[in-house]
């Protein structure tokens, strides 16, 4: 997040929630006191909000207003916490559901491999706890290894997955230890991971890392259960340490039946490239696959954004931004969820009426909406509500709570319709790689929806045969087009799913039911026809008929979905009062999520007055003053150079600015060497030294911020600028 003064004025609690996922770039410049800046800059959140809400409010009641506002803020905080916890738990559930199958698979495999190990024989106590090798079959030295393909190059998402897997297996009676790549560093060697194993199994921190301790523990503890060691992602492990670990475990394979589970982020080549062949030979690998990030993303989008979850929603631009960020930038669910959380926070922070969401979630009867209970005085609130741009578009005549309640229920109804259609489309396109995330982004686009309506009407008037799929590309129409490619039986199944999905929306459901009944009649016909034995000619003709029939049916289905898309899919941004539920400010989100620290640092160095707010250099003069921050001076000076900066020149110009310009400017220009100077030589020397020290510190700061590279051996008197432009 950028250190702009606006963020400073966030209330502390929201700020805390905010900083949790928030990487702050370090400050080169110290911030001025926030109070001061708060008062001075007119663009802070607090004042802005006041302007938004009560532009004409009487000034004498400002203390009352403040109180009300505080109350309102508290309510919004509560609502935020409630909504976010709901979203978070939903996401967690979804992820767990996705993994259940794989987890069960892994668990069965663990127990089977354990039985295989056991069938090789159990050594008796002294043998099992001593380090001397048991002479056995070469095959018995192999370690059963589950390679879990996480299908994502970034592994942050799967930290939680492996933790859950550990819990799952523990619940099934296995001894489980989770190791991460941090345990496999070259620095700690095998001792490091052994120690971590001992810590997790024995719950004690013994100094000698010795595997025979583990063996005797296993003997004493419970040797009817497998020992599972989970390694998060092997790509990041140090290969030699990992292979040592594997070799050691394979030596003890009979004595401690260890089953390895390793997360592989890329391909199965990763272990092949990392481990030497003698370690690979010890592994008896099996492969498991987790859901792809795209699948998980779809599941999350479905549960959180499409299906009713919290009532909180995001606008089209925000959705597109988040989608692009996921696809082209980061590719992790973690950051997607973080973006969602930031959006949610911003929404509750900016929208005074967002406290309504709390009740909205609870599905309470909102026929009588007591606006007053949300903290703000009712008249301010009313004005705010009916000043919302979406409301003005529709122009509600009576500004009463009843009309508001009506509008809310209308919003709910339209959302339900939209949801049903989106899910129908998703189900249709599921097999053909139609991603819900894309679909979601397309279907909440208010502009294209308007176009869609006008377009289709026009086209249909002209030529009813032309389908919208020819008009436009995009996932939406792809899904619609897919309906036409279905066979009759597939269509039947699809219609049944549609029927289920549209139960809440009577208008659509009726049409689907109608089509279903048609299909059934048709089915009956065709099966009868199949039964009757007919000569070949007839058969072919009948076949033709059937084809025609089904064609017409499919035609009808396609028309139905087209009509659904046209009439029932109203994006949330087209509904009045959506601002209360929908976050639309994409710029805020971008700033908070990406931050762009390098750019920010450069801007801050150049425009430091805004941050420091000091009295000495606020005039906004472009000239360099000695009272400025050293690093800023240096950076501004560096702007005059190309990518190579002569250190001597740089230092001289720095000195000429720092040393009081009135008396020493001429001197330093004319006689840069100290030995030529006369008079108070000692103090001169001292100041020279201190200037040099300041120079060095500034250069180092620039180096640390990544804007400068120190002189190389080849060119010892030149520093190199690294980052250019903003």
């Amino acid at each position: 997040m950028a250190p702009s003064p606006t963020d400073d004025s966030l209330p502390s609690t929201i700020d805390e929630a905010f900083t949790e996922n928030n990487l702050q770039p370090f400050f080169v410049l110290q911030k001025g006191s926030s109070r001061k800046s708060d008062r001075k800059s007119s663009g802070t959140g607090r004042t802005k909000r006041r302007i938004d809400l009560s532009p004409a409010s009487p000034k004498d009641s400002s203390s009352l207003e403040d109180e009300k506002e505080n109350e309102n803020m508290n309510l919004r905080m509560e609502a935020f916490e409630f909504v976010w916890s709901k979203i978070e738990s939903t996401i967690k559930d979804v992820l767990r559901d996705i993994n259940t199958n794989v987890f069960n698979e892994i668990q069965t495999w663990v127990h089977q491999s354990f039985n295989t190990i056991r069938s090789l024989g159990t050594p008796d106590f002294p043998e099992a706890t001593q380090s001397f090798p048991v002479i056995t079959d070469a095959n018995s030295k192999r370690l059963f290894t589950g390679l879990v393909l996480t299908k994502n190059m970034e592994f942050v998402d799967d930290l939680l997955t492996f933790e859950e897997l550990g819990k799952h297996l523990k619940y099934q009676g296995c001894h489980v230890a989770n190791l991460s790549s941090l345990d496999f560093t070259a620095k700690n060697g095998v001792g490091g991971c052994l120690r971590s194993l001992l810590r997790q199994f024995l719950k004690s921190t013994l100094d000698p890392a010795d595997i025979s301790i583990l063996a005797s523990w296993y003997r004493e503890e419970n040797y009817n259960n497998p020992v599972v060691v989970i390694i998060d992602d092997i790509e990041r492990c140090c290969g030699s340490v990992l292979s040592d670990f594997i070799l050691m475990l394979s030596e003890w394979a009979i004595k401690i039946p260890v089953i390895l589970i390793m997360g592989v982020a890329t391909t199965l080549d990763a272990p092949r490239n990392m481990l030497p062949s003698n370690a690979l030979r010890c592994l008896c690998p099996f492969e498991f696959t987790l859901g792809t990030p795209a699948e998980r993303m779809d599941a999350i989008v479905e549960a959180v954004l499409v299906k009713p979850c919290s009532g909180f929603n995001i606008g089209h631009k925000v959705a597109v931004f988040m989608r692009n960020y996921f696809l082209s930038q980061d590719g992790t669910l973690t950051s997607f969820i973080r973006a969602l959380k930031i959006a949610c926070t911003q929404h509750f922070y900016m929208e005074p009426l967002s406290a309504i969401l709390h009740d909205f979630v609870l599905e309470e009867d909102n026929s009588v909406l007591e606006i007053g209970q949300y903290g703000l005085s009712s008249e301010v609130m009313w004005r705010h509500v009916f000043d919302l741009p979406s409301c003005q578009r529709v122009r509600v005549n009576k500004q009463t709570s009843a009309s508001l309640a009506n509008a809310f229920s209308e919003l709910k109804r339209l959302q339900n319709q939209w949801r049903a259609v989106v899910l129908c489309l998703y189900v249709t396109g599921k097999g053909e790689k139609v991603r819900l995330l894309d679909l979601f982004c397309e279907t909440i686009d208010p502009i294209s929806q308007n176009q869609r309506e006008s377009d289709t009407y026009m086209k249909f008037e002209k030529d009813p045969v032309i389908t919208p799929s020819r008009i436009k590309g995009g996932v939406l129409w792809e899904a619609v087009r897919l309906v036409r490619d279905l066979s009759t039986s597939q269509l039947g199944e699809l219609l049944k799913i549609w029927d289920n999905l549209t139960v809440d929306v009577v208008e659509i459901n009726d049409k689907v039911k109608e089509l279903l009944s048609l299909l059934k009649v048709d089915d009956g016909k065709s099966s009868k026809k199949d039964l009757t034995v007919t000569p070949k000619r007839h058969a072919s003709r009948i076949q033709l008929n059937i084809v025609k029939d089904s064609e017409s049916l499919i035609d009808k289905a396609a028309k139905l979905i087209e009509c659904m898309v046209r009439d029932y899919m109203c994006p949330i941004e087209c509904i009045p009062f959506h601002e209360i539920f929908c976050f639309k400010d994409v710029d805020k989100l971008r700033l908070a999520l990406i931050g762009d620290p390098r750019r920010r640092i450069q801007v801050d160095l150049l425009e430091f007055q805004k941050l420091l707010c000091c009295s000495c250099c606020t005039q906004g003069s472009s000239g360099l003053l000695p009272s400025m921050h050293d690093t800023s001076i240096m950076y501004k000076l560096a702007q005059e150079h190309g990518d190579l900066i002569n250190l001597h020149d740089w230092y001289q110009s720095f000195k000429s600015i720092v040393v009081c310009p009135s008396n020493s400017k001429k001197k330093s220009r004319q006689s840069p060497l100290p030995k030529k100077r006369k008079g108070t030589k000692e103090s001169e020397n001292q100041s020279e030294a201190s200037i040099q020290a300041r120079f060095c510190r500034a250069v180092t700061e620039l180096q640390i911020t990544g804007l400068l590279r120190m002189p190389s051996k080849r060119r010892p008197d030149f520093a190199q600028r690294v980052a250019f432009g903003l």
Partner: protein, 464 residues
């Protein structure tokens, strides 16, 4: 490790030594006999010489020699150095032999360990102890034996020849005992031990052993490879006890042949989970996807990567493969024709020189590059790609600042590519900025990634 004969030697001592359990090379048990519980309880049932010899086929001379060196009980034992290639039965033979004549076998790594260990053991079992066999891979433990009492026998096991241990310090030179590598016939003998259906297995070995022997003669490696192959070999047979006739052998051979070559190349075969209910169609799926996958999912990467990471990977690949001098001509349209022409009109001598340089480059593998070069190429590529993208996908989802967006946290992507081992980072101070990178990506993967982006990689790749 202590044997039954001296249980009073405490576990503590073994613990202190067991840190060394990662010296693996010489501790490979090598014989493929089936272990039973009785086998493991060595000390209890002393067995005869014949028994011993039958356990280790093709090691007759070595065993006899070893026993001769050990000599009768109560006689002093000169140090013995058992050496030979990996997996030739050194450890197993030694263990079994000394087991049947001596009471205690231990292992350790550092000389101090060894001395401490020995003293403790001597205190405990002073009456019964006849000899210890210290076992080590390192030169170090060769030292203390010069000062040891004559009753203590030392047996060193190593896979390095005795010349390496020659120190000339004055202690008694160990007597070398060489375990030579198994021949193909030896291996056949070894693998025939304990087979239930000997004829079938013999026919199997006829087919399989020769090609494998060319690759490796290590019993442990072979045992792993053969056991899975044998399962495949037996698959078509309903009755595993039947003795195969010629026709059947031929049939089985034709069936196993494709598997042999693949098994030869592959030490690391990943099986997918064959346990659950869906097993049948699942295995079918994996098989078919391996065959048809080449055609179908040709340009599909197996894992998710964000677009900017893909571009970064490609630019790293290019930076590693192309010489830096060509960058300008490849990415700057003005320089191309000029440099190409000059190359064609090269003299004989300079051609030779160039060839040499190319070979050298080839030997060196992918080159290193500084961060700046990577970023420059990245920027060229992405700006190019976005131009074409804009033409193709006119509107909709690429609305907001995707061009700037791609650049924003490249360094983050770079670090995650480093984490995934696609790019290797040369070690140096991160602040210095002189870190050099190198790609470890195979051309196949790079091409796949490029294809998924519709990026014409081959156009930018400098071919020698």
């Amino acid at each position: 490790m202590d044997m039954e004969g001296s249980p009073q030697v405490t576990r503590r001592t073994t613990r202190s030594c067991a840190v060394s359990s990662n010296d693996v090379e010489s501790t490979k048990p090598s014989e493929s006999y089936k272990p039973t519980l009785n086998d493991l309880a060595f000390g209890k049932q002393p067995f005869g010489l014949e028994d011993l010899l039958s356990r280790f086929p093709c090691r007759r001379t070595q065993i006899l020699e070893f026993l001769r060196l050990l000599g009768p009980l109560n006689s002093p034992l000169f140090p013995v150095l058992v050496y030979g290639g990996p997996s030739t039965g050194k450890t197993s033979v030694t263990l079994q032999d000394s087991k049947h004549s001596y009471s205690s076998v231990k292992r350790c790594e550092r000389p101090s360990d060894f001395v401490n260990y020995l003293r403790e053991a001597l205190e405990n079992v002073i009456s019964s102890l006849k000899g210890n066999s210290g076992k080590s891979n390192s030169k170090m433990s060769g030292r203390p034996d010069g000062t040891m009492m004559p009753e203590v026998g030392l047996i060193f096991i190593s896979n390095i020849s005795p010349d390496m241990y020659y120190l000339n310090i004055g202690y008694v030179e160990p007597i070398p005992l060489y375990f030579l590598n198994y021949t193909e016939d030896d291996l056949r003998h070894i693998f025939m031990v304990n087979q239930t259906n000997r004829k079938l297995y013999a026919s199997f070995l006829d087919v399989v052993l020769r090609p494998f022997c060319r690759v490796t003669r290590r019993v442990d490696e072979l045992a792993a490879a053969l056991s899975s192959l044998f399962k495949k070999y037996c698959e078509p047979l309903s009755d595993k006890e039947v003795a195969p006739n010629e026709e059947m052998k031929r049939k089985l051979f034709s069936q196993i042949r494709p598997h042999i070559s693949s098994a030869l190349n592959e030490t690391f075969q990943v099986r997918s989970q064959p346990l659950l209910g869906a097993e049948a169609n699942k295995t079918k799926k994996t098989n078919s996807s391996k065959m048809s996958g080449i055609l179908e999912d040709f340009d599909k990467i197996d894992f998710h990567m964000s677009t900017s990471a893909k571009y970064l990977l490609i630019s790293a690949f290019l930076a590693s493969r192309n010489p830096a001098t060509l960058d300008a001509s490849l990415f700057d349209s003005t320089g191309v024709s000029d440099s190409r022409k000059r190359k064609r009109k090269a003299s004989e001598k300079s051609m030779d020189q160039k060839e040499m340089a190319e070979q050298e480059l080839h030997m060196k593998g992918p080159g290193t590059f500084p961060l700046e070069r990577l970023l420059a190429i990245f920027q060229c590529i992405t700006s190019l790609a976005e131009d074409s993208l804009d033409e193709e996908e006119s509107r909709e989802l690429t609305t907001e600042g995707s061009s700037r967006g791609l650049m924003s946290d490249v360094l983050l992507q770079l670090s995650s590519l480093c984490n995934a081992n696609f790019i290797i980072k040369g070690g140096s101070c991160p602040l210095e900025g002189s870190t050099r990178y190198r790609t470890a990506v195979s051309e196949d993967l790079a091409l796949k990634v490029a294809r998924s982006l519709k990026f014409p990689l081959s156009k930018y790749l400098y071919r020698r």
